[in-house]
Amino acid sequence: MNTPQHIHIFKTNIGTHEQKVAVLSVLESLAEVTEASVDLEDCDKVLRVVTSAGATTIQNLLTTSGIVCSDLP
């Protein structure tokens, strides 16, 4: 991969395994996304995305899917 990759970490409101699967399939279908994972074990339901895209792009995409996400402190 020649395009610079960023690692974005978000706090989300992903609650169920089904939602997690849905979010991941949306993200992984994007060419710009190298890797995506959701940690449901953590109270912040952390979404981790390795991508050449910017944080806002990812955030907007999730919002349209009905998921609230914000920067993890």
Binding site: I9, S37, E41, D42, V46, R48, D71, P73
Partner: protein, 205 residues
């Protein structure tokens, strides 16, 4: 930034220091509180970083655990291979292995405990490629000893039980308060050599 690195070649980037701090703290916490006792939040606090920083390096706890396990194996392999010649003879080679493994336990006691705790855990994905070089060297060592007639043919598990099991058993006494003889026991070069002589004799054709 480049000039900076040129003038201070030993200087680590800030990120590397954080990564090491997280890794070492995680190992410590898992050894004392177990895997279930660890959370990314707890670890972040203990390591003095934000939870987001942890997630830069690890997807989740399981990823962290596997990463640590691989690190332990790599470190162990590196130390075990110090001055070791798989074709240098059975007795000499085994002595080097024993001394090196003892060094590992002394230099990295929490790595050793971690390995003991997790080597049979279903959470570990045993796929570390780097460890294969070590395994290969150990295999050559045994094959060579059989070829030269220094040891009789036997199942690898039997070999390990004699050649290493005996060694680890003796070491256990060293780290316990009291042995079954109700006394404290210290492993020394002398008693280790004594044990080695008996092991070599047992392995002989």
């Amino acid at each position: 930034m480049n000039i900076h690195l040129y003038l201070y070649p030993q200087m680590r980037t800030r990120d590397e220091n954080k990564e090491i701090a997280i890794r070492e703290k995680a190992m410590e916490m898992i050894v004392s509180d177990g895997f279930d006792g660890l959370s990314m939040q707890k670890l972040a606090k203990a390591a003095g970083v934000s939870p987001a920083t942890i997630y830069i390096y690890y997807k989740n706890r399981e990823d962290l655990l596997n990463s640590l396990y691989n690190l332990v194996n790599e470190t162990f392999a590196e130390i075990a291979m110090r001055g070791f010649d798989p074709e240098g003879g059975l007795e000499k080679g085994l002595w080097v292995q024993w001394k090196n493994r003892l060094d590992f336990i002394i230099e990295y006691p929490h790595y050793f405990k971690f390995h003991e705790q997790f080597r049979n855990s279903p959470l570990i994905n045993h796929k570390d490629v780097k460890f294969d070089a070590f395994k290969d060297s150990m295999s050559r060592f045994v094959k060579n000893a059989m070829a030269t007639g220094e040891m009789k043919k036997m199942d690898p598990e039997l070999f390990w039980s004699l050649a290493y099991g005996s060694f680890y058993s003796l070491l256990k006494f060293h780290f316990q308060e009291k042995t079954m003889m109700n006394r404290h026991y210290k492993v020394t070069d002398e008693n280790l050599k004594q044990l080695l002589k008996m092991v070599i004799a047992a392995l002989k054709k």
